[in-house]
């Protein structure tokens, strides 16, 4: 029998970049041009096999407007991973992304897996953020980066697979279900050791 691991994932990013659309594509394999803006947050789950484990993603999709940022800690608290989304056609959204990364580094769970998603890659004609910039930035913070299109179902599965891969496997039985948190503690220990 395969082990099921519950992984809390939150989606962050500027308003209107397509966070909900990514979730919708990933969970329901469906795209809607006009998904209602998320107020507060919305919650969805999807189970994905990964190696000899089943990863059950508990996805918290947050609101993008800046004034909802004050609520974000509720959602990224205890998250194993964060998907930070920007819109490749909007330079502003990339700036917002950097802010989110900074906040996660400051207040987020330690060793949270960060994945940067450059959404709306189907609109490359209107591109404002070069792929190179995103790649360089992602490397600098040690995050996964991928350009996606929720509309055309490009790289959505890959995005979450990448996250799955980044989650360290359960090293022993004693860790139980809360692997993500335990893992976080472990990594903290290692960093402290190196200090």
């Amino acid at each position: 029998m395969m082990a099921i691991r519950e992984l809390k994932v939150c989606l962050l990013g500027d308003t209107g970049v397509g966070k909900s659309s990514i979730v919708c594509r990933f969970v329901q394999d469906h795209f809607d041009h006009n998904i209602s803006p998320t107020i507060g947050a919305s919650f969805m789950t999807k189970t994905v096999p990964c190696g000899n484990e089943l990863h059950k993603f508990l996805i918290w999709d947050t609101a993008g407007q800046e004034r909802f940022h004050s609520l974000a800690p509720m959602y990224y608290r205890g998250s194993a991973a964060a998907v930070i989304v920007y819109d490749i056609t909007k330079q502003d959204s990339f700036h917002t992304l950097k802010k989110w990364v900074k906040e996660l580094k400051e207040h987020g769970p330690e060793n949270i897996v960060m994945a940067i998603a450059g959404n709306k890659c189907d609109l490359s004609d209107l591109r404002e953020v070069p792929m190179k910039d995103a790649k360089e930035y992602a490397e600098s913070i040690g995050a996964i980066v991928v350009e996606t299109s929720a509309k055309n179902a490009i790289n959505i599965e890959e995005l979450f697979q990448g996250i799955s891969r980044q989650i360290p496997p359960l090293d022993s039985h004693e860790n139980g279900n809360n692997g993500a948190i335990k893992l976080g503690k472990q990594t903290t220990q290692t960093t402290r050791r190196c200090c």
Binding site: M1, M2, E6, T15, G16, Q28, D29, H30, D32, H33, N34, I35, S36, P37, T38, I39, G40, A41, S42, F43, M44, T45, T47, K56, L58, W60, A63, G64, Q65, R67, F68, S70, L71, M74, Y75, E106, H107, C194
Partner: protein, 892 residues
Amino acid sequence: MEDRFIIGSAKERAVSSPQRDLGNAQLNPSREEPRKKLCGYLNKLGVKGPIKAWKSRWFFYDENKCHLLYCRTAQDVNPLGSIDLSSAGFDCKVDADEGVFEIRTPSRVFILKAFSKQAMMYWLQQLQMKRWAFCNTQTGLPVDSVTAAALPANESLLNETIHTEGEGFLPPVKTPTDVVGLKAASLPAPQLSDALQNISLKHPWTEIQNTIYNICGTRQHPGNGRSISGAECPGTFSSLPFVACIPAWHREIIVQQPCQLLKETGFSGPAATSFRAGAVLPVVVCCDDHSMSPQELVKLLHKALEAAQQEKRASSMYLTAAEDRDRLELVRHKVRQIVELSSRVEALETDKQELEQSVALRDRRVEELQEHVQLLMDKNQAKQQVILKLTEQIAQDLSEPVQEADAVAADTLYKQQEEIEHLKDDLDAYRTQNQFLNSEIHQVTKLWRSVAEKEKVLLMKCARLQARSCQVESKYLMMLRRLQEASPDLARGEAELVKSLIQEALQWDAKEEAVEALQLNPVREYDDYGFMTIPKYEAEDWKLLAKIQALEIKSNNLLSHTAVEKPLGERWAGMAELSPSAELKGLIRCGIPVEHRQRVWKWIVTRRLSHHHAANHYESLLRQCERTEHPASRQIELDLPRTLTNNRHFTSPTSQLVPKLRRVLLAFSWQNPAIGYCQGLNRLAAIALLVLEEEESAFWCLVHIVENLMPADYYSNTLIASQVDQRVFKDFLSEKLPRLTAHFEQHRIDVSLITFNWFLVAFVDSLVSDILLRVWDAFLYEGTKVIFRYALAIFKYNEEEILQIHDSLEVYQYLRFFTHMIGDGRKLMSIAFNDMNPFPMKVLQNRRATHREELEAELSELERIKAQYVKEQAEQVAWHLDGAVSEEEEEM
């Protein structure tokens, strides 16, 4: 007669005054008599003077003289005048004003007015009686030859018959006590017009006397009145036994004649001595005849004596003349005088002739006028004849058609009759047919009604059955899903079976949907406000759930429509004018019917915002939007196409509501720059637009929600008040639903992750439109308490189900959509407003205050930690730079 009575020289007044005194003296004892006296206030029409006006007068009847006397007020002593009733006739004109009647004496017509018709009748009757009584008694007394001749022989008889006849015609009128009789005297004169108007200008002297008398206030001593009028007048006059029984006019004549005679003698010069001397005797005789007053006689005789003496002196002068010449002279003088006189006589004669001529002229003229009158009368007669002729003609004309009908030939008549018979038959036939058809219609309607009712019941049954089957179906599908999830653990054969079953179920569903469209016509795709009744979900299980939901709502609506909503609708229809009351609150809580919602929302919004509802405020905000772009406009633009995506009014590309929504939100961003735009406001404004339709009303509705209903800082930068409300809500939840709270705590579930947006957008997109609008009805009227009540009610509604889920993930998953699954709005409403009682506003406010304090403290603490972290980080970076080499070494 009246004129003679009052006006005249002082001498005459001196003569007349004893009479009045006499009258008064007789009036006095009679006042003490129990018998009713005829007196009272009447209005008299003034005849003389420039203005004819009604004057209020006190009228009283003098029994002895049969005179009706009148004065200004009842207290006045001297009457202004009198009316002789013995020879008077009474009349009341039909076309005159109410209470107006006339007393016609030979010399004058008095027009009087009583205060009512009854009073008038009383007066007239009384006057008739008085006149009759007087005339009856009069006959027994010696009468003046002239009067006797004037009176018809059978006068008394006639009077009697008239009187009895009069009695027969008119029943005796009851005495109108308030205007007639002695009591009325104590009352003020009823006419309220200017007192000056009542003053008789004609009798200034009497007026003055009366005034003075009234001032003195004593009837026994009428002061100046007596000293002036009765000075020369010995008391013996009134004590003469016969005077009292002489009728008034006799006495007047008696007094009159000598006076006139005296006047004449006064005017004629001494030249007429011889003639005058001869006249003395007749005067004396006359005086004797008329039993003149001794004093007057003395005076007259004195005058005659004087004239005789003068004549005697002249004669003696003639006799004593010394010579013939002197005598001649005297004679000549006389002759000259005679000539003079004869010439005077001639002049007078010519005068007389002239006067005669003018009289003749007048006569001719009178004749002419009479002729004219005759002519007019003739004309009148001719006209009357013409009228008569015409009337006859009309009568003839009216009867002519009959004659014409008679003239119609007999055969055609026969034909027509036949036709009429036919028509009658037809008519009968039609009538019976009509009756039958009426009964038919009645029967068919009854049948139709029963069938319709049956159909309704069947439809309801059908809806319920379908809902049930859908529920079963969804449960089955859920089972399949679970099995699928567990498929790795299942045996190969079983796993394949599950797979095929899922495939089958999905296909079956698609097939069923096609059939369903035929079966369930009543389930419309969109509701009254354009919301999709069955939301389009991609996931199969949700699709089914949505369908169940729609069917449940429908069956609920069907069940509640006849039982609850009809009487409610009637109560709403009766509420034309809205005013805050407990009844209205209750009605609003039950949900406003669609046809009244717009009106009531408008009323609620304008009522609460009237104080700063400046005209053109919205337009000026729009102008400001055009001038300068608000930083929020980008976000607004981004959200516009994503608003109420399940409503056709917002999703259609040609929608008029989207541009309206844009303007409302932009205007609001200037109306409240502290908020600008917050995601979620778009949904509030959209709902307002759907219901109110008008852009400006929707704007004010949004203002009402944000500025009146929600606490401050609900939508501002940190959303602090919203966060506070989440904590307050958790408090209420633990208080009202302790079991559920324990359950959540056990599974470490933070409900605020779910409920946050309920509060921020007042359940828009969470509840089914039908229930949502009902919640909004109460929310707009009562405020945020309604949101708390409903949020609690939603948990209560599903409490049992939630308690059965023991996995935190599943609880979250359940909570995500469970609001959409509520179908019974009435049950939810009853929970919200009955089961959640008591819900005092004070508790809510207190909790808000304490939680806000806490949250603010926490936030500032967080800020402090943040600042510390930043500081530490900076230090760490500095250290890191130093220790970079060593780290590398370690890795190596």
